[in-house]
Amino acid sequence: VTHLGDALSALLDGELTPAEARAAEAHLGACEPCRHELAATSAARSLVRGLPVVDPPFGVFERLRRPAWRRGVAAVTGGAAAAVLLLVLTTPPADPVEPPVRALVERHAASASAGGDPVTELVSVGVPVAPEP
């Protein structure tokens, strides 16, 4: 025997065609388990349908309704702040200055030793290296 199952809810909700409803009623007349399930389903349905309207807590809608200009200002300042934050977060840190000390020293040492005379090196910068005659 196939029981009515969810057709019971459909029957209670007026969602069966007249022919389906007649067939369901006929089945119910002969089926104790389905009658029991119908009563239980009907009770659960009535409980939910009997739930009261719920008043919104005070100020729920008022809190959502702020003057349009203020929302606009909030959006603009919020947008600007977000842009600044994004800039800060996405700008890579500046490279630390690392003077090529080693290369300079080596170059200097090479030229100094090649010349053999650190003093003559200074000719190029205009320092007199020999006493005037």
């Binding site: 809810s9 239980a40 939910v48 009997g50 719920v54």
Partner: protein, 167 residues
């Protein structure tokens, strides 16, 4: 309201605020989430994101609320940390008497708690049917499922409520 035009924010809040809040509370099961849901619905109303079709204003708001509710449920599911199985708000009330005593003995808070314990898809179908009072075909269209699925969810939802309220 001119026919065919989307209602303004003020019209919704003034004329349908209690209805919307009731649906939000029955769907979410607590005031905190209900207020968040109302806020989301009003945002969608304001942005004109939800296409208004002339007809029942309450049906329109129910559709937005249900979609926003189910969107939120799916979002939370993707963040399993928040899905606390031991959430005390979800605790089901103590057992009561037989079916015959069901209607007489169940307080609205107990019924609401039992409703909150239903899987969200069943809960949405039951709320749209028994709180909003929509026919199956409209619920099916709102939830984007076949009418047979709506019928099944409503019936299973009621069976689960019965088990919880009168085991």
């Amino acid at each position: 309201m001119a026919s065919g035009e989307a209602p303004t924010w003020e019209e919704v809040a003034r004329s349908h605020g209690r209805f919307l809040y009731t649906v939000a509370y029955r769907l979410t099961g607590n005031h905190e989430d209900a207020q968040d849901l109302v806020q989301e619905v009003m945002l969608r109303v304001q942005r004109g994101l939800a296409t208004y079709r002339p007809g029942s204003m309450e049906g329109w708001l129910s559709r937005i609320a249900t979609n926003a509710f189910l969107d939120d449920v799916r979002r939370r599911r993707r963040r399993p940390v928040e899905a606390l199985p031991d959430d005390p708000d979800r605790t089901v009330p103590a057992a009561r008497g037989a079916d015959e005593a069901l209607a007489a003995s169940s307080l609205p808070d107990d019924v609401q708690a039992a409703l909150a314990g239903l899987p969200p898809d069943y809960r949405a179908a039951v709320v749209l049917c028994d709180v909003v009072g929509l026919p199956y075909h409209e619920i099916a269209e709102m939830l984007d499922v076949p009418v047979g699925t709506v019928r099944s969810r409503i019936h299973r939802g009621r069976a689960l409520l019965r088990e919880v309220l009168a085991p």
